[in-house]
Amino acid sequence: MAAERIIQRSDVRKSQLRKVPELPILERRNWLIHLHYIRKDYETCKAIIKEQLQETQGMCEYAVYVQALIFRLEGKIQESLELFQSCAILNPQNVDNLKQVARSLFLLGKHKAAIEVYSEAAKLNEKDWEISHNLGVCFMHLKNFEKAKEHLNYALQTSRHDLTFMVLGKLHLLEGTTQNAIETYKKAVEFSPENAELLTTLGLLYLQLGMYQKAFEHLGNALTYNPNNYKAILAAGSMMQTHSDFDVALSKYRIAAHAVPESPPLWNNIGMCFFGKKKYVAAISCLKRANYLAPFDWKILYNLGLVHLTMQQYASAFHFLSAAINIQPRMGELYMLLAVTLTNLADPDNAKRAYEQAVSLEQLNPLVNLNYSILLYNQGDKKGALHQYQEMEKKVNKLKASSNVLEFDPELVDMAQKIGAALQVGENLVWTKPAKDSKLRERPAPSSKSTTNQQPLGSNKALGQAMSSAAGYSKTMQLPTGGYPTRVQKPPSLPLEPESSTDSAART
């Protein structure tokens, strides 16, 4: 007993000796706050901050600062803005405080105010990439692209970051200069070759320009780094589809379908894969699901119309095509398909009008003129048919001159030769391949109607269009043209089906 007491007493004495006089230092526990904050232990962190603020009567700058950061992480931007403002009052010379105030303003959507505060901050520190970067982003939101570019380029000069590259690329896309955007992204990929998002975007841009080899390379790289990247999978799949590699594309989509079971573009592409494999019913059901999920998407409607044309269900085809035209009125091919449908629905007058519209809208595709010419010929209007035929020849010559397209769809060529012969313009054919006699003889026969009808439908050309539209879909979807992702139009809430009332309900 006695020994114990002695030990205790000595303990007490020791601790009294060790005790250091406590000074009321404001920043005494900053290290602890910081430690908890970076470990994401926000609850403990908040408790310590509260204690610290009580002790110092709110004068501890760092505690307020971290509290504001936590608020921001929780999505309470307004509160965090107020706290950062008090930080800035406590220490007006600190650039960080000003930057955070501006950042909070930016997150609240007050871009002009944010720019002002950032400019203040820039006066205190010239060489800060964050300030320039954020200024650029703010200007981009205010649609002041010149200044935005200036600031972003300055930010890149000071210090290169992936984020800045991305914003700059987006800016170029907004302005519509794809070439510049590609340059930017190229630099970015050189700088950080393992960023899957950059790789995907670059791949998509190449895809848009038709440079398939490079696109494939980059998308493949992106998939190596992140095999579940939904965008890259979709883009790669659509590229395979363009080259008629449907089974491989479907196996790609299978991976994506797990991640995003309700994505309209995905179901659209799957539907067009089935279409390519001539599984029309499966294609229709996939496309209809896509359409149910995204009723405003004209590409899905276009594809649905095309598949129904192939199935020779003209009423449905007309329905979907006219819906697509309502949503996207500036597209010649849509009018052409509509005209083909109308021809089959025994309404040649409206078909003619639709062709007129198509011809006026479509500058490059010779198919439109060819189909129109066939219609006119079948109607007995040889003069008009000849005119359209010549238009088509002009287009073909132009395309040849631009040498982008050397190979024409054989079916198109074949049909053109037939009608050319029928119109007796066969001697100056643009295609060198001589037409066969037997075909020439068959052509003006009255039974030609069925061949006429099937010409634009079953042809690979039409299929090719569908493919490219499917591919194009994923492109537009993934390359945001607005400053931020464009997919605002979510499928509206689904058809509400009021429950059928019941007998028992009626009885009560």
Partner: protein, 515 residues
Amino acid sequence: MGLDMDPMFLAWSYFRRRKFQSCAALCTKLLESNPYDQETETKIIVTEAAWSLKTRALTEMVYVDEIDVDQEGIAEMMLDDSAIAQIARPGTSLKLSGISQGGGPSPAVRPMSQSGRPITGFVRPGTQSGRPGTMEQAIKTPRTAYTARPVTSASGRFVRLGTASMLTSPDGPFINLSRLNLTKYAGKPNLAKALFEYIFHHENDVKTALDLAALATEHSQFKDWWWKVQIGKCYYRLGLYREAEKQFKSAFKQQEMVDTVLYLAKVYIRLDQPLTALSLFKQGLDRFPGEVTLLTGIARIHDEMNNIVSATEYYKDVLKQDNTNVEAIACIGSNHFYSDQPEIALRFYRRLLQMGVYNCQLFNNLGLCCFYAQQYDMTLSSFQRALSLAVNDEEVADVWYNLGHVAVGIGDMNLAYQCFKLALANNNDHAEAYNNLAVLEMRKGHHEQARGFLQTAAALAPHMYEPHYNFAALSDKVGDLQSSYIAAQKSAAAFPEHVDTQQLIKQLQQHFAML
């Protein structure tokens, strides 16, 4: 006067032909001419018969099958703790929502009535679609959101039923319950049963009914299963579920009846023990193989637990037994509609039409199915028929809303806009219409208006994820990330598996964590 029939015989004949009004009137006359305190034996018998017949006629006028009357008021939902397990394992309770077990269609395809409960194909009075969390929430939400009819505080409809029936007889109630000598009637089983039904169904005086039933069952020395079931019914009404269960069980031991099984299952469902109810139904099916009501009961429980696949299987069994069952046809039909098979759904609904069902909802569903199954010739005429058959503004609003969807389908945005506006004009609380109007406004570029509509929609229907997500996306586009984040979180709460919401939240969190 050879033309005059014996009035008692005529009254009885009226009753058999279910002409209750005439029967009751004739009985009243009989009773007036023969006061009750007659001396001769035969007269007493005649008066007793007339009295009993009148009670039965009056009861039958307002009779509702007790099995289908399952209404929970706010008080029962909130303040009643009959369930044993507070946090039950998923798949063993009816009160957990949002856990889809059978792989049914997701909220992106099938609309929700409350979070986690897809709307059903068939509304019964007992349909509960999710439950409110707190009393405050229960009072704030629209009154028809949880049951098939406006929620009252404590099953007040029973009270109302009683008063309503009293209004029909101008000279006051037929029997003054407080003056009845129950012991005397309990001794006469042929009178007692009719009297009990009258008290229970016509007067809705559960306590007196229980007294009478207790005396009668004592008189029959506890050998009559019917009285036991009645006592159980009374206990159930009074909220004494365990006592009710005891009575029903003992009745079932005495005499196996389908009714008893159904009552017992009702008790178990109220006690939140769906698995017990299921095994009970299976037992019942062993006794009565192929009984339709039992099969329907099983299907309903599976449906309530969000296990749509097995619910559909049982509904199909029902159809194998009874191919005109409206509930089964409607449920399977709506299920097919939402799993990308509108053609098959159309066949089911046409079957309903062939059976002579003729109401607004059916034509509305037919129109939708026709449109989505690409039967364009019958679409609009069905909707027209639905509009002309609609009996209240809510139904008109729903039809216009669906017409708006058709308009979107044909790409005519102006028509769609008008349709949604009309839906709102008819039902000002139509959240879906607000949401879709907002989407249309957004397409036109009217952001402010779209925001207003979306906010209204989100306030009206917090369980729908669409307005929340759309609001989040819109705010994100204009740069207001705080509102975007709040809305996105609500959307994630309403539909956790939504990929776009998840991506948006991730992106916003990156924004918040940056720098």
